[in-house]
Symmetry: C2
Subunit: 413 residues, 2 copies
């Protein structure tokens, strides 16, 4: 195990609220790792609404395809479940991949007395190796017996691969005198040496909300949270976000996006998602800097995001941050290569509050020493103004260090 | 200076043929470096056709904009010239950038008795610092006095930044009993510590060919040569390719792309461009492996190239090569994230002649030891079949090593 990331929150895993209607269990199944939790089960009460967003990879893993089918088919009668293993991604495993998905979904469904199509699956770990599904079906009884509403942290631990810390976030929000709880956890951006990072996120709330409204809120919030982070520009075959709303709190169901309570609920849910997204970046392989990049003055919000991700994914920008080098020339380069409209002669760049460049050239007041001093910080902000419109976006990333190379190149599979 | 790249050709700089109508000079102007050649001049005879392709960056440097204007305006009467400095990119330098371009073009034109709009300029080096144009105009007489048809290697040396070796290539081609010579040189993919890589390429031929046909051939050949290589996915503000055809050889001018001689000439020119492109990759920062990636079975050639570049730019793929790890799972990931159509269940991947994966899973005959042995080589081939069409493309890249991080993160500007 690696040392804990220097960017990990000092406060550790938060005390998550119990979400009425959800129970968790985690066990050691020995899928690949031994002596650690590697399978987690979340049992979700009947009547819950479940929404999800998934990787857009064209080589999606079998469990991702299964979950997407489930959502497309709509909820079946009865309760639901989420079952996740670490150690094996069940990706690029041909027909065997689909077979093990069915085997595990059926076993979970039988154990909990629910429909297999209400079982959401995720796997993270090595790719191209058949998932030993029997190791998972063998622990079904143990998982069922361990179900407990207070077990979220164990569940968060079971889905880790080379994550260096467990990642949780929570929020509560008042909706017409009712206090709704939201709790979630995630894994991500650690690598299965030497395989693939995957981001898995599970969020639970006791809010009463229809599936279609929940899906719309989740899809919208994904754009500005999980789809606005990058560690190394590589997209997993298995990224999955599942959000379950149990409706166990006494409130009138939200059934329309025009319901006046939607804004507050969506804000709170997005807040939890954003916090989890940041925790993933803070555990990026080899990360020593957490970097927020805001792009203003773009032709559109989408254009601003494209430029932001071009900066965030540039190896030259990321290595400059690693070297604490206020190398704004590399930011100019990354803006230019993004292909979106920018007015070279109006372009402005700031590091934190320090105006570095304006009107297409270095600012007359900028002193290199100020930039260098700023770069020594751990949490850094870059703001860019493209000077052509009113579109804006914020993305988050980490630096690119020797440790990234060590993690990803110095091992052999 | 870094050690010479382990991928550098053992034969050194080739003996380039003299191109009738072109003379070169190189001097020490002290633009930024001292004690080395840093400005080069190529004088090109009246009647030459000049074509070019340039970076598509939205933050193109002043000299790039100048060259593109020149080409758009069409050739002016009289001879032409190319003047290049290293040490300063004259990029993101506001109005000052344009002013120094004009100053240098005018001085060059006056020295050679030509029109300033026939002077092509390129600059490579630090960004955002005003180009000290006087240091360049001061050496004009010295450059003129040093002009010599045999000086190409000095010229190739003067444009280097942190390139570890000079890069040249040549070809000759028979066109209806006339032997046409082609000679070119390039710099690229070394970094100005800690600034930006730039690729500059200059190619000369004595062929007699109209500007429009030359431009069409050059633009076409760029797609499968310089625009099919990547070191780290970052695009310079200054990438420039200029090709000059002096027409000094006795032949009927090629004035139409349907001229039967075009195919042979274009093949030879593309060969020189491809060799120079490979030399740039072989000098990629920290490179220890030269990697050719061929994608077949795509919906279109463009889709194949997108997938190829997705593989070539993936940090996880590149670090796997650095670690000599036959990690085909990362190639599956990079195919998936490219967003182009792929049939997961028909996907095939080979390392050299070794079939690694087929029909969406690891090949039954594949042995990990064979893959690991193959990865120990210096020049590696990856072939992917997407299984959906007949589009294909080949791209070239290098691995991502600790040395890349050292070059780009361990210095401070």
């Amino acid at each position: 195990m690696s040392d804990i990331s220097p960017l990990a929150p000092k406060s550790g895993f938060p005390k998550l609220p119990v979400i009425d209607g959800v129970r968790f269990a985690a066990v050691e199944a020995g899928v690949k790792y031994t002596g650690r939790l590697d399978v987690m089960l979340a049992e979700i009460a009947e009547g819950s609404a479940i929404a999800g967003t998934f990787t857009r990879s064209k080589t999606r893993a079998a469990p991702v395809l299964w979950c997407q089918e489930n959502l497309a088919m709509g909820a079946q009668a009865g309760g639901s479940a989420i079952l996740v293993n670490s150690g094996n991604a069940n990706a690029f495993t041909g027909n065997n991949g689909h077979d093990s998905v069915e085997t595990i979904a059926n076993a979970t469904a039988e154990t909990l007395g629910i429909n297999p199509r209400n079982v959401f699956l995720a796997s993270t770990g090595v790719i191209g190796e058949p998932l030993p599904s029997k190791k998972i079906t063998d622990v079904m009884g143990q998982l069922r017996d361990g179900l407990d509403a207070a077990n979220a942290e164990d569940a968060a631990r079971a889905i880790m691969t080379t994550d260096t810390y467990t990642k949780g976030a929570k929020a509560s929000v008042e909706l017409d005198n009712v206090t709704v709880q939201i709790a979630g956890f995630a894994k991500g951006s650690g690598m299965i040496a030497p395989d693939m990072a995957t981001m898995l996120v599970f969020v639970f709330t006791d809010a009463k909300i229809s599936q279609s409204v929940l899906q719309e809120i989740v899809s919208g919030a994904t754009v500005t949270t999980f789809n606005s982070i990058t560690v190394d520009s590589d997209t997993s075959t298995s990224d999955s976000l599942v959000v379950a709303a149990t409706g166990k709190i006494a409130m009138d169901e939200i059934t329309s996006v025009s319901d006046p309570r939607v804004a507050a609920f969506a804000d709170a849910l997005r807040g939890v998602m954003l916090e989890l997204a940041h925790l993933v970046v803070r555990d990026g392989e080899g990360a020593t800097k957490f970097i927020e990049i805001t792009v203003n003055g773009a032709e559109s919000d989408a254009a601003a995001k494209t430029v932001g991700l071009s900066i965030a994914n540039s190896p030259l920008v990321k290595t400059a941050f690693a070297g604490e080098d206020p190398n704004w020339g590399r930011i100019v380069m990354a803006i230019g290569k993004a292909g979106e409209a920018a007015d070279r002669d109006k372009l402005a760049i700031s590091f934190g509050d320090i105006l570095v460049a304006e009107k297409g050239w270095v600012s007359p007041d900028y002193r290199e020493d100020d930039g260098a001093e700023y770069m020594k910080g751990q949490d850094l902000n870059v703001t860019v103004d493209l000077g052509v419109g009113s579109g804006s976006a914020t993305v988050w990333t980490c630096d690119l260090t020797h440790q990234y190379i060590t993690i990803n190149a110095d091992y052999r599979s």
